[in-house]
């Protein structure tokens, strides 16, 4: 009778151990599956964040060209995607005030046609080819073609001079 009881007790213990092992294995399995799903969805999230950042940067190029600090406005007949170069040169002198204002890394404006060389300074403007407004870090560049207009003078008479250019901005990948 005693042996039979001991035997059934051992059997019970074995069953409990089996159940416990099974439960631990199941928990581990589900935890691994959970981690896998979470990792997968988080990697998708990162991709989505980069995509949104890229989309944002592309829209921002247009936004920049039409913002009051850059835009040609009524001075050059309300042209869309038109940058007033005289205004940009004025902005260049005060760019530190605009730190973090547009939430972008670098802003560069390049003359495409007619092509000209050299970075613009107060001294060589307008006979130059590139205005660097902000150059902070290396990022991914996105650009948009724009019209670059300024006031010029012919025999003392003012007229509007417009050329073809490109505005480039950089953003950082997440």
């Amino acid at each position: 009778m005693k042996t039979r009881n001991a035997h059934s007790g051992k059997k019970g213990q074995m069953k409990i151990q089996q159940t416990a092992f099974m439960l631990i294995a199941l928990t581990l399995f589900f935890a691994l599956v959970g981690i896998f799903i979470l990792g997968f969805s988080l990697s998708g999230l990162k991709e989505k964040a980069n995509l949104i950042e890229q989309e944002k940067a592309m829209i921002l190029v247009s936004k920049l060209a039409n913002s009051p600090e850059f835009s040609c406005a009524k001075t050059f007949n309300n042209k869309v995607n038109c940058i007033d170069l005289d205004k940009v040169m004025a902005l260049k002198e005060r760019i530190e005030k605009y730190e973090g204002f547009w939430e972008i890394g670098n802003i560069e404006i390049i003359k495409i046609y007619p092509k000209q060389e050299g970075v613009c300074t107060k001294e060589n403007y307008p006979n130059c080819g590139k205005i660097i407004l902000k150059k902070e870090d290396e990022g991914i560049y996105t650009s948009n073609f724009v019209v670059l207009c300024r006031k010029d003078f012919f025999m003392g008479v003012p007229y509007d001079k417009c050329e073809l250019g490109k505005v480039m901005i950089s953003y950082t990948k997440k």
């Binding site: 949104i52 835009s71 009524k74 006031k151």
Partner: protein
């Protein structure tokens, strides 16, 4: 017999304890994942909202309307701060998940955006439209955000406003703005009457809403006063004035740059200096009214100048 009974009770007890623990753990994990999911959706909505706003701000010069709908009930709150050279605005988004609002997700603070909304804007569908604010040069494109659950009905508005709103309605017939023909459940915006929820004195430049007065110069600010609450509106005025001051400096410098290459008749430097002073003096929307005439005069002088600056 007793001992056997105890054995069965123990295995049951073991199963209940372990089963319970697993269930509790599962519920906790599920809640956490749902919470993360909710926050993720809020963050995505927040980012998409930023893109929509950038888009509406940038591409078009005149008024434009766009709408966006969300799968869940959403609360959008705009917080305005005056600190820094241009102040800043933070948009917080929170969504309803199983009857509970998720933790508000805030986007990066932006210094270059001016969103006018009645805090909090709540619903599933939202409308955004923008309008250019000039003082006297373009300062910014103002954004107005409203929930589709609130209908605004403009009664006896001046012809220019009626025309503009009708055009907006044509762009999106479901827009929550009505002109004269008011739906039953709507917030009435009355011009020339003082018995409505929002009353506008267009000539004097005053919007009276919930017993509070907000002053405006130009239609862009009038819409701002109508669609936002007083605190948000006054804060945005200060931010806009900070940008006006900086733009006046840029135009002064621009005049110097042009002058270094040739001569234009009629300098605008004294006027730009005046704008700088005005922008510094404006402490509330009420102050704007004092300078309405001066600003109009400067605008005319620029238009008649040989080399207009803006």
């Amino acid at each position: 017999m007793d001992k056997k009974g105890f054995q069965i009770a123990f295995s049951w007890l073991f199963a209940i304890i372990v089963g319970g623990a697993i269930l509790v753990l599962a519920v906790l994990v599920a809640t956490k994942i749902l919470g993360i999911g909710g926050a993720q959706v809020s963050a995505e909505t927040q980012k998409s909202l930023e893109v929509i706003m950038n888009n509406i701000e940038s591409v078009f010069e005149t008024s434009l309307v766009t709408s966006f709908s969300l799968p869940r009930k959403t609360q959008i709150v705009g917080e305005c701060y005056e600190e820094g050279p241009f102040g800043k605005q933070i948009i917080r988004v929170s969504q309803k998940n199983f009857g509970k609002w998720s933790k508000p997700i805030s986007g990066a603070s932006t210094s270059n955006r001016y969103v006018f909304l009645s805090n909090p804007a709540e619903g599933k569908i939202f409308y955004i439209f923008s309008k250019q604010f000039e003082f006297p040069f373009k300062v910014a494109n103002l954004i107005y955000l409203t929930s589709a659950s609130t209908n605004y009905c403009f009664v006896d508005a001046p012809p220019s406003i009626k025309e503009e709103l009708t055009d907006l309605k044509r762009m999106d017939p479901k827009l929550n703005i009505w002109v004269d023909d008011c739906p039953q459940k709507s917030l009435k915006v009355c011009f020339g009457s003082s018995s409505c929820e929002i009353n506008v004195d267009y000539e004097e430049g005053v919007v009276k809403k919930r017993g509070k007065k907000a002053h405006f110069v130009g239609d862009a600010l009038m819409y701002g006063a109508i669609f936002s609450d007083k605190e948000n509106y006054e804060c945005q005025i200060k931010r806009l004035m900070a940008r006006t001051k900086e733009l006046a400096e840029i135009y002064m410098e621009k005049e110097n740059i042009i002058a270094s290459r040739g001569t234009c008749r009629g300098s605008l430097s004294p006027e730009l200096q005046k704008i700088k002073e005005i922008a510094s003096e404006v402490q509330s929307s009420e102050d704007l009214l004092k300078y309405k005439e001066v600003i109009e005069e400067i605008r005319r002088k620029n238009e008649n100048s040989e080399c207009p600056l803006w």
